[in-house]
Chain length 481, copies 3
């Protein structure tokens, strides 16, 4: 019997299979946004087993287990590796129709070569086989996994105060298969809820930038100094995780200096003033991105740490986050237009989390293309809760209808796991299948060369050219000419 | 020629037909949320004809007739039963693609055994045939209809001040096919727009609970006394119909006592204070639900009584309601987290009306699963305007992608009509068809036993186990073990 | 090889092809909302070439070109006709999956008879061929194009201060193929951002209406005088382009007189007062529409002139607009209910731009049907960013599920281009294809006559009867009986 994950998985038509096999399947990967650990990459970490690499910190799986009534001990607690794996194996058959079901089967198939579906019956055998490969084979270390997936570039996500030591180590490698770059993610600079936390962070920034921060302009300068250091380490992209962008009204606010002083003195600031300060700082950070030719990314719409019970017990990113219904249009417009009208708008990728905003984001991005760079303004890939077949198709449809998919820079893993690269394969299959279906319906001409160009562009070359990173040897022969 | 409603209606594949026939079709029904009249059930009402059972109070049909230019006299006015039926028969062919077209054909097919489609040409024949059966046959009384649909449980929707006399009568039946339980719906306690109306209701509560309500705590105690009585009558679920849940800011409000006093004294209260009082009362009601192990339900997003002309003429629930675009995330989070962090969150079902919020609701529910009960937090079934094929599929897709359908407690009728049980059949066909399509596309393994388990769980056993009601003999042999 | 646009384009089933060929294809067009120039129609303008008729002012194409990195000179600048056409030809292959790809191919096919797809390779040949036909053939003037598309009625979009001179010229034609009527679009009366601009417009109104405007009531009277003149010119519809309708709170506002005086004196007015004035004026304009038996249209949800760079350089409607996420429900309800409860609600079409509001709009319209006119309250066709296969299908699905498509008045071009009539053909194919798919799935009976009636109603007769315009001879034999 054919295994569940087979060559034609998700590829319903001949055209789809042809596009996948001839164009998509073997392309290198430019993973321009993820949360992999630079430390583990620098150390070329060898995992102690499948539980470490697969279950630790995977809040997707944690949510599913909690929904199945699995006690927390087997999720984030002190149960053994086998106990946790077994609890997950019991959960997997219950995830039918959730992306976890596909991801699980795809990740066992590749890299582990396991065709059987995970369930209580197969758990022990799969646990042992995965552990054996993880503990013994060259392709199963952190960098080995990336190499075998032909990942030419990985961009981690880094705090401006990070020393970038791991990145320096990684940069010293000669002709690596996978080049690793930092991404500038200054969320901590923009989070004013707890003045103590913020001031502690500013203290670290002072050390990292080797300057004193007494005023708003000092802060901007210190950040700019670190921004330059990031640039020197190959960083070409920033990223922000925000609920929404500040509304137009706060940009004209004259309170920034006073608010900064209060905050720096450790005093709580009221919400309206905090937003005005955030707006001012976001604008200045965006100018830096523009000055250095970077891409700025905005991940908007997540409503984080909604479960205070989980947050108190386990911290952030543990499965207590969901979608918000924040107002989006006016803030996006004010922010982007404020830069565009000063000819200071960097290349930009806008990612939304609540799918009700797909069309809005797609059309908003289109307002600010200026003819300077093809695809300058990007409506970004589906992520987090939207990272499944329906979500990927919905993003692609919205972008198709309201923008140009031919300029789309494609998929990101946005993952903390070294096993998530099958999501690129997932995306490529879904994309080829969609185009095959288009041909079947007569919606696009069956011009295989044109479709192949589109597939290649979306899966690899657009991202390569948009960011302009030097690539690792995993993409040998496919550099920008 | 094959009739429009036939065995394979909506079942496009062999897999779909197999799942439906072997697993779904003959399952009993647990209708854990509807608006059937306990009085009619207790009296085992015999209907005077098809117009009474089918058209009276059916605001779905009323809206369609108004959209077709039918004068109000033939809708809610003093036209004869035949005249009203004939006006509806003229409207039916115009409802093509609206769920009314399917519902109409399905309800004539079962229980009436009529294959012909309703139209002006067939109206007289169908009117006479239906009336004949309704007036003469055992299976066509209120309880006969439920029995023949294998409805093992019906939960009506009841006011806390209701005497529950009908429920007591119903409970006295020996080994009934269909057990009937009340649902606690305290909307009247939470509606402060008209102080006179609210105080009149509190007066009834005082009588029902046999205590005086002079303070907010008195109110809570009186409600709790009734809550206990409902529990003794087999009630295991509450339900709230609200636009949205109160925003986080109002929970810390210290004004509740003062607001209560003003309201109790018959004075109008301003909107902000009303919401704070509502928040406080909702929280206390939720604690009662948790204490007694109930399921709390929230039907959110309806924008009611939008047409003041219709409201003035006919009252509520007459076809002048639509969807709102209320802010949802912050209120839901504040309410649920406020309970969860005190370990006082009851099993909960969240229903949304505006489909733009599907994904938000699905992810919000997932934040508060705690491993205690499988499927503790439910993203509820599509209802009202969403109760059609597209809406059912969209809810199921959102839940699949962002939660676990394997834990879904399934469909509700949410209807005022004894003829609406075909909506369970409708749901089951749509579900089996979806899974058949999944198999065709290779999205799920063709493991018929696993799929059959899923179908059985969603259509019957999950609801049975989640609520834990004793079942009527319509479900003989299928009690929870 | 079959050309991309062929007889069965978009028609996937035999039923679809049958419905299209027998019912849809040859129906006349009632284009009750577009932005064609009355001047060009009155002059029966002959275009200097394909660049003038196809690229000038087409902000859909402009956005696509900017997204492809085409410099502004080739878009809105001083490049030659050939240079601009060639820049567009380079862009077309990059629009795959965007409606522009279909529109481009369809518009070359008809009226130009060109089967080859536009690309850099075919650009010169197509440029020359189109220019030849445009410059020499009778069917390629402004009115020739309308006639050959069987456009029986065109409604342009006109300012209340417009002299309607072109409309008078057009009305003088004997038995024209295409009758042309004005539409009343008083946006300028309702836009208070810049008091100077508003007062200048009021000055023009004073001249046009030949009365002095010193008070709010004067303004209403002057508008009413023009409304009557529009009526005398055959106008039967108004139209408003607004972000959203004013919220309920502002209707009870007593500030209208004072606000008017301040504005008329050239003073800036604050946002809350402006909205109250707008609400008052909208209400009065709606009464005029009701008094004269017109249809009022509301195009809501566009977020215009978001790019201030483009606005400053090129003015409005140049590709710097997107969707907003404005609150919709309360404003719609307050406005419509305020008229309905006074028995003064005109026939109304509500168009939304952000597709997240599809369901809301469909249900909101349904609240106010009163049985007086079939389909009195319309949830309008998809437009602008939603005018593609997915958008058309989504609007039709929402309307089907929550209203009656049998009463739908169908498609509009909403275009500035004399080549956009293929969008009616596009719509008709999509509609027939959808119904064919319904039959295939058993969702509707395969009653070809009933389906044909639906197609005919939606594509032509509903609009004809709803507006009641005298038709041009393009619809000879198909007048309302």
């Amino acid at each position: 019997m054919r295994p569940f994950i087979h060559d034609a998985f998700l590829l319903a038509s001949d055209v789809a299979r042809d596009l996948y096999e001839r164009y998509a399947r073997d392309l290198p990967i430019v993973d321009y946004h993820c949360h992999l650990s630079p430390e583990l990459m620098a150390a070329d970490h060898r995992f102690r087993g499948i539980t470490e690499i697969w279950l630790e910190g995977d809040h997707y799986k944690w949510r599913a287990m909690r929904a199945c009534g699995v006690p927390e001990r087997f999720i984030s607690g002190d149960a053994s590796d086998w106990e946790k794996f077994e609890a997950w194996a019991r959960t997997v058959p219950e995830t039918l129709r959730n992306p976890l079901f596909h991801w699980t089967a795809m990740e066992l198939k590749r890299p582990f070569g396991i065709d059987r579906l995970l369930s209580p019956q197969t758990a022990r055998e799969i646990f042992d086989r995965c552990n054996e490969r993880l503990r013994g084979e060259d392709d199963f270390t952190a960098m080995g996994l990336l190499r075998s997936w032909k990942v030419a570039v990985v961009c981690s996500t880094d705090d401006p105060v990070d020393s970038l030591e791991s990145h320096r180590q990684l940069a010293r490698r000669k002709d690596p298969a996978t080049r690793v770059y930092p991404t500038w993610r200054p969320d901590a600079a923009l989070t004013f809820d707890e003045p103590t936390v913020w001031n502690a962070w500013v203290g670290k920034l002072e050390k990292a930038a080797n300057r004193t921060v007494r005023s708003f302009e000092d802060l901007v300068e210190a950040l700019d100094a670190r921004h330059r250091v990031f640039h020197e380490h190959g960083c070409r992209a920033s990223d922000h995780g925000l609920e929404t962008l500040p509304p137009p009204s706060v940009y004209a606010d004259g309170t920034v200096g006073v608010t900064f002083d209060a905050l720096r003195a450790g005093r709580a600031i009221e919400r309206g003033r905090a937003v005005a300060l955030q707006a001012a700082l976001l604008h200045r950070l965006a100018l830096m991105d523009h000055d250095r030719g970077w891409v700025q990314q905005f991940h908007l719409g997540a409503y984080r740490d909604v479960s205070s019970r989980l947050y108190a017990k386990l911290g952030p990113n543990v499965g207590g986050d969901s979608m918000g219904d924040f107002e989006m249009a006016r803030g996006l417009a004010a922010f982007l237009d404020g830069l565009d009208r000063r000819a200071s708008l960097a290349k930009t990728i806008l990612y939304n989390l609540n799918p009700r905003d797909n069309a809005l984001f797609a059309t908003m991005a289109g307002n600010f293309n200026d003819g300077s760079v093809p695809g300058k303004m990007q409506y970004g890939a589906s992520w987090w809760f939207l990272d499944q077949k329906d979500g990927i198709e919905a993003q692609f449809r919205a972008l198709s209808n309201m923008g140009l998919v031919s300029r789309f820079v494609g998929m990101i893993t946005d993952s903390r796991s070294f096993l998530s690269y099958s999501r690129h394969d997932y995306f490529r299959r879904i994309l080829c299948n969609l185009l095959g279906e288009d041909v079947r319906q007569g919606l696009v001409p069956d011009d295989r060369e044109q479709l192949g160009r589109l597939v290649t562009a979306v899966c690899f070359t657009n991202a390569r050219d948009y960011f302009g990173f030097p690539l690792g040897t995993a993409a040998a022969g496919q550099e920008t000419r």
